[in-house]
Amino acid sequence: MSVELYLRPGSLPECLDHLAEFRGKARLIAGGTDLMLQIRAGQERPEVLVDTSTIPGLDRLEKDEDGLVIGAGVTHARLASDPQVGRWWPALARACASVGSPQIRNVATLAGNVVNAQPAADGAVALVALGAQADIVSSQGERRQAVEELYAGLGRSSLDPTRELLQSFWLPPCRPEHHSAFGRIAARNALCLPTLNAAVWLDTSGGGIRSARIALGPVADRPFRPREAEASLEGVALDDRQALERAAEMAAREARPRDSHLRGSSEYRRHLVRVLVRRVLAEAAHRAGEGLQASLPLGSERP
């Protein structure tokens, strides 16, 4: 089966009409960096492709007091280099800078990265730690859902790209006492899926850690939240290295990495969870201790 029709809708309603018209035989395409490989390999066999890049407004990237809105057309390269994102959501900027190569980051969208639903997707792991929500539209209406809940199994999104469009992400407003960090371990420095990645978000209002979110990949069929480790951090002082180490050990116990001929044994990757979580926690705690967002000029936190 080959793609027989390529549509370039000029508006969101037109796009949704196309999807409805072809009843599951049409798929949305943005950067196409995953989808085209899947079509070539015969894993996906859409008859119609509907290009979202011609829809006005999908490329918006707006920060205001209500938070951050990331349109579905925003690329990894843009998020990696945006000064506001780098300053307030450094975990996301760093994660987006880690994906693929410059050529891939220039066309691949964050929304595509999430819909593709790979547990190791760097951008998705950062979004989960940052508590991102997805705004989804279809001909049936609109809904808002946590990114974390968009997974229906390994490589399967609960969002149906033949019917629904992930219009944008929303990140809650970042206050000066919110801090995040992202890290990854991979076989080489570029164009490489991670052996392990991790993102953390800390709410440090009141001095110490008030609450924490940790996301890890690929140690489950979706970005994984080690809840016990997160809970253990509540009320911990930022400079309590032992508590951070304990949380990292907890995360390593909670994670269930599988043996992989390509990524490494479960023992090894479980150990890496401990190392990486400790490192990203320390980085976020360090930012908090230094008050980094407030003191640094815009743009200096670029990865």
């Binding site: 080959s2 371990i185 080489r188 420095n189 570029a190 899926l193 390509l262 490494g264 044994s265 090894y268």
Partner: protein, 763 residues
Amino acid sequence: MPEAHRTVGRPIPFKGGRGKVTGRTRYLDDLELPGMLHAKILRSPHAHARILKIDTSAAAALEGVRAVLTAEDCPDTRFGLDVADARILARGKVRYVGEEVAAVAAETPEIAGRALELIRVEYQPLQAVFDPQEALAEDAPLIHADKPGNLAKTYQIQRGDFEAVLAQCDQVFEDVFTTSRVLPCYLEPFGVMAHWEPDDRLVIHTGIQALFQARSEIARALGLDPSRVVVKAPAIGGAFGGKIWIRNFHPIAALLAKKARRPVKYVMTREEEFLASRPRVPARIRIRLGFKNDGTMLCKEMDLITDNGAYSWAGPKITLNMAMRTDCLYRFRASRVQARLVYTNTTPTSGFRGYGNPQAHFALESMIDLCCREMGLDPVDVRLKNASRQGDVTLHGWRLRSCGLQECIQRAWRSITGNRRPPVEQDERIRRGVGLACMNHVSGNRSGDNFDGSTSLLRFQEDGKLCLYHGESDMGQGASTVLAQIAAETLGIPVEDVLVMPLSTDTSPFCFGSYSSRVTTVAGKAVELAAREVRRQLLAVAEDHLEIAAEDLDIEEGRIFAKGYEQKGISVAEACRLAIRTRKTVPLTAYLAYDPPTQGADQDFYGDYSSAYTYAAQAVEVEVDTETGQVRILRVAAAHDVGFAVNPLGVKGQIYGGVAQGGGWALYENLAYQEGRLLTTSLRQYHLMTISDMPEVEPILVESMDPVGPYGAKGVGEPSLIPMPPAIANAIQDAVGVRIRDLPITSEKVFFALHPELGRNKP
């Protein structure tokens, strides 16, 4: 470098470079012929199975299909190299996942692909064996009925009185090293376009390294006389030894073209390249080294088990190189080796940059550091003390007419140990270390009485431009540029005035091809000698015209002039016009076959068989993250005795490339399998080194001025890859004290070596 040189020794950009970077160069996949069909090959899904039945009727009936081929349609020939066991298409049995079972030629690649899905093959799966050691077991499944014990080839070679020398050793050490399956991963996938001329001659277009070898192998597979086959090479997008020899698809495309009576093109997909191209021969090497207490190396013994895959291509010769070549790196008094090349139900292995030599170097050069640690000696001093030198006749009878190994060791080590980064940082989490490994290689390779030279044809045109015909492929290494430089230098004309002609077995003079790092040395010499002859003819014309004796004339920058009276002269172009367009009838052409003054290896593989021998030392600095086991190569100092650098830009390019390919092999690259099924099916899973992983590289050119090679030059194509894995392993041990003996050196291996208490097999 002599001041007098105007062209050789200069960093001249490669001929054809502009076309490549602007996208105008035409590779095989850019070529089309009227009526051309597209071929696809059905490959075995089984590692070992009997073929019970093949039904191609539905495929043949598909609209747009013009020919379908199975073993029934192929001549019942066996081909390959030393051990001819390959067939065009599988007959009766398949022996690896990816083996060619049937082929289709159709109007479009898509139709050909659909036709493959319509071919019904009934298989009866057989027990398969993937590990060479298991294949040697008595109860192992037999892969070829006529190859008992699954042995493709064995070698036993001894030099000197091994037992007596062993008895003189103060200390003897033994260890085992293994190397992995890796692919050349050239940028341009391999392929062929075949068509038959009305006079029944077969024309093959293919980007191959050795045209005349390809012609004879294709002829053998098809049962034709070689002169009925023409092989032409378009531009080649990289090869690294993986395109020296033909593949099954060459005769397959020829037979499809014959059956369909149309031209047929076949280009491998990248996925097919991973599944069915020829990986480096993996080896298990048991090595024993004997020393005097003062560090003098006395003897070396190796026991090799090498993986041939399911059919024999270059495996026998590669195993032989692996068995012998490193014996000539140091001044051993005796050596002994046993080697067994074993069939397995895996993709056939074959040539890849180094041709067996890198595997042996990984064992020897790792082992020397291990032994020196045990003995409390400095491994760099021990290498310097034992290094082979100019004038030596080695254990295998090589005559080292030039050898700059000691200088290479000294300069590489000085470079890497100067400006070192701190050995320990970040609470000892980061540790850095340095290591060095040496290497030796050849520039040509003669067995017995065989030709080991090159043939060159030079012909001036009437406008003073020179056409240079040779048969040595330029797959990106710069052969055309280097040969043009040598011709231009010898003739005194600008290098731009040398036109290097495209390769075709019909018009190119006979040559062996671009392998064994031989082209600069032997083809360069053939060009130099032919250029001298054309120069003689040119000067005779000028002598006649200027009425000045030829010996009083010189040529520079395209002008012939009287020595000491430069105003009096004539342009090369005018001399060419006089020679060709007037009644002088001077051909201004030289056709010359050159064979280097070597004796060749005898029945016992003894003898001086290469025009020149290259030596090198590479030192690296690495950084190890002790928490994760991750290794980063920080710097490489690569000192190579290249004899004389005809084109320093090209030599440095070879060094950067060898560092990337050798470093990638050491740390990242690996064809991973599960029960014979390939897991690394694309460049996404198979990790080459990227630009952001590249270390800082300092190329150091040691010019020993070889007395035989053109202007003193020797080869450098393969050498720069060879020392990388052991140099890295040595540097890792220097940094963190652990030794990895099996490639690739993954983070996980380093991690569990550092933290054995955390591993699955806790001590």
